[in-house]
């Protein structure tokens, strides 16, 4: 969805939200009047029915306008009143129950309305969820102006962002699942306990207007993972943020194959690892089943028992190594064998490490996590571009070819695009290579966030990128990429020559319209060339 529509919608919703609040204030006056009658003991059944109707309406509509707590509380009070409306035969009993309770809850309700409880929900819901995998970053900053300007800056880099003045206001936002937090240092020190109780394992970046080693140590000790001093260098900070997010995602996940002949033990390991967020498969050691499972599941590591009945783990490991594909797959033996000589012998046959049984659950989980993490990092070194983390040239071309084949088989349309930064050589010359690298990374991160998880993104050459959008019409691809160009041009970088921005040219072609993937890439490249000649900064689609 392009930015202008989103802004338009936010603005309209904002107006409606205000109108709703004004009207609700009038309804509160009516409820207050009924509450007064209830306390005085002279409210009648009609009045109770009226309060029920008002509460029912609030319960059904407040959430739509972002007043979630107000809606929830109104629902509770509505249910309380409803029983007496359904059966109003014993009015004096009803009034005695409601009495102070009704008034008290009403006051709470009004508080939620006055607090405008979710001041920032518009930002949150400004993008339909699930369309893009944009990570949500909470900005917790007491100063509204600084907080919201930082938050707006992050949006340009392809994050969703939500500004909140303090930790408590986040706790009142049920359902928000942030991926990272940027927080004012003194707020963090005061509330790190509470924060981590709700958000375990979440990367925290502290910002501060002062800087000393003592302070840095204090923040690190409290659990902060990064520190930035004001004035903030946003490109640098988002780059760091991106690294933290990938690291956290990698560290918390992993694919583990357990090979053991003891079903109970295997089930136990499976539970421990699964509850730690790992993806687990099990196999019983039958040599004929192992390779098919490996090919299909593609684990990061294998945990293997040393002796499974007649089957020897080390022999099985050696058999796996017959296949060049599994030469680098880490294999960790699980065994009661504590004789170091025997262990070494088993390792010599193709294993990587030994875990001696009995092994505690937390030790197992930590070891497996670390192993998976390392295995993934290694794999990335091989297949990913080191600066951007995107697919390397040769791999991305393979992926595009695979998608082209899918198009032909499944008869769907997909798009391929070449992207090139405008006047990039000049950036490197005048702003320095460090700044140039940040620009490249900035575009890589924006693409990662704005495109879907299933889209293929690669670094093609120095400042050239390629993306393939499976099952995506040319018109849709054009909209999405035009929005990327627009947002990218608004990012402000800082280099040795001061602040600057960079624009982006895109050539687009329908991957599915060409007989060979190379032809589609060539067409996109031609379109890119036309865009460069037509003034850069934007998208040109190849005529097909």
């Amino acid at each position: 969805m392009s930015e202008p529509i989103v802004n338009d919608v936010s603005a309209k919703l904002q107006v409606l939200r205000k109108r709703f609040a004004d009207k609700a204030a009038g309804e509160f006056d009516a409820l207050e009047e009924i509450a007064r009658c209830i306390r005085a003991g002279d409210a009648d059944c009609d009045q109770l029915a009226k309060s029920y109707r008002i509460l029912h309406r609030l319960a059904g509509s407040a959430g739509t306008f972002g007043f979630h707590s107000l809606g929830d509380e109104a629902r509770d009070l509505e249910l309380l009143v409803k029983s007496f409306v359904d059966d109003c035969s014993d009015l004096s009993y009803a009034l005695s129950v409601l009495n102070e309770e009704f008034q008290r809850r009403l006051t709470d309700l009004r508080g939620f309305l006055d607090a405008g409880d979710a001041a920032a929900t518009e930002l949150l819901s400004a993008r339909p969820e699930g369309v893009y995998g944009e990570p949500l970053v909470l900005v917790i900053e007491p100063d509204e102006q600084q907080g919201s300007s930082l938050s707006e800056g992050l949006v340009l880099y392809g994050y969703q962002s939500l500004w909140l003045p303090d930790v408590n206001s986040w706790l009142r936002e049920p359902g928000t699942q942030p991926s990272a937090i940027i927080i004012r240092d003194e707020v963090f020190l005061k509330s790190s306990d509470r924060l981590f109780r709700f958000l375990r394992d979440l990367p925290v970046i502290c910002i501060s207007d002062t800087d000393s080693y003592i302070q840095r140590y204090t923040l690190a000790n409290a659990g902060a993972e990064a520190f930035f001093r004001e004035p903030l260098n946003l490109p640098m900070m988002t780059d760091h943020l991106e690294r933290l997010l990938t690291d956290h995602a990698d560290a918390a996940s992993g694919r583990v194959l357990i090979v053991d002949d003891d079903p109970e033990l295997m089930e136990h390991y499976r539970l421990v690892l699964t509850s730690g967020g790992m993806d687990v498969r099990t196999a019983n050691g039958d040599p004929s089943l192992l390779l098919p499972i490996l090919s299909e599941f593609r684990p990061d590591i294998v945990l293997m028992d040393v002796q499974m009945g007649d089957i020897s783990g080390p022999a099985l490991a050696r058999m796996l190594r017959f296949e060049p594909e599994w030469l680098s797959l880490p294999i960790v033996y699980l065994s009661a064998e504590s004789n170091r000589e025997m262990q070494l012998e088993a390792l010599a046959k193709g294993g990587d490490d030994f875990l001696t049984k009995p092994v505690s659950d937390s030790f197992l989980l930590r070891t497996v996590r670390r192993r998976c993490y390392r295995a993934r990092q290694l794999d990335k070194l091989v297949s990913r571009d080191s600066l951007t983390g995107l697919l390397k040239h040769s791999l991305v071309k393979t992926e595009v070819s695979i998608e082209h084949a899918r198009c032909q088989r499944m008869k769907h349309s997909s798009a391929v695009a070449m992207l090139d930064l405008d006047h990039f050589k000049k950036v490197n010359d005048t702003q320095g290579h460090r700044a140039g690298d940040l620009v490249i990374k900035g575009l890589a991160n924006l693409l990662r966030h704005r495109l879907r998880k299933t889209d293929i993104i690669g670094r093609y050459g120095g400042e050239e990128f390629i993306v393939a959008l499976p099952e995506c019409s040319i018109a849709r691809a054009e909209t999405v990429l035009a929005a990327v160009c627009e947002d990218f041009s608004r990012i402000v970088f800082e280099g040795s020559g001061g602040k600057f921005s960079v624009t982006l040219s895109v050539g687009l072609a329908a991957l599915s319209d060409y007989g060979h993937p190379e032809e589609a890439i060539e067409a996109a490249d031609q379109a890119l060339y036309q865009r460069k000649r037509a003034g850069r900064n934007g998208v040109t689609t190849a005529a097909s």
Binding site: I5, L16, R57, T64, R75, S125
Partner: protein, 129 residues
């Protein structure tokens, strides 16, 4: 059965003015539908023939004619005996939902709804109908 026809015209019957306004944003601006919003069952019956909606969305609790009554009246019009309908309600006990579905509704959307995702939800229901 799956709907192949593209959903364009939606008739909304909702007595609350602010919900009608937010539904216009949610369905016209965000969703790209052509929406006709009516304030009562009576108004809906008067304009349904001219507008010829492909889908009708009705609030359940309305003064005068409520949602289910309105739907029954719409079903009596020969052009709209089978027009798909969705109820919106702030009450979502499962037995109530069952009774609305028994009235011939495709689905029930609980209130409050999120204006940013309402259109997607309706498309989803439409496609699977």
């Amino acid at each position: 059965m799956e709907q192949n026809e593209l959903l364009k015209r939606i008739l909304l019957v909702e007595d609350e003015e602010d919900i009608r306004a937010v539904a216009e944003v949610a369905l016209e601006t965000v969703g790209g539908f052509n929406l006709k919003a009516c304030a009562s069952g009576q108004e809906a019956l008067e304009s349904i023939t001219d507008f010829a909606p492909q889908l009708v969305i009705l609030d359940v609790m309305m003064p005068g004619m409520d949602g289910p009554e309105t739907l029954r009246a719409i079903r009596k019009l020969s052009d709209f005996t089978r027009t798909p309908a969705i109820f919106m309600t702030a009450k979502v006990q499962s037995d109530e939902i069952a009774s609305y579905l028994a009235e011939g509704a495709l689905s029930v959307i609980p209130k409050p709804f999120d204006p940013m995702t309402l259109a997607d939800r309706i498309q989803e229901i439409w496609r699977s109908s």
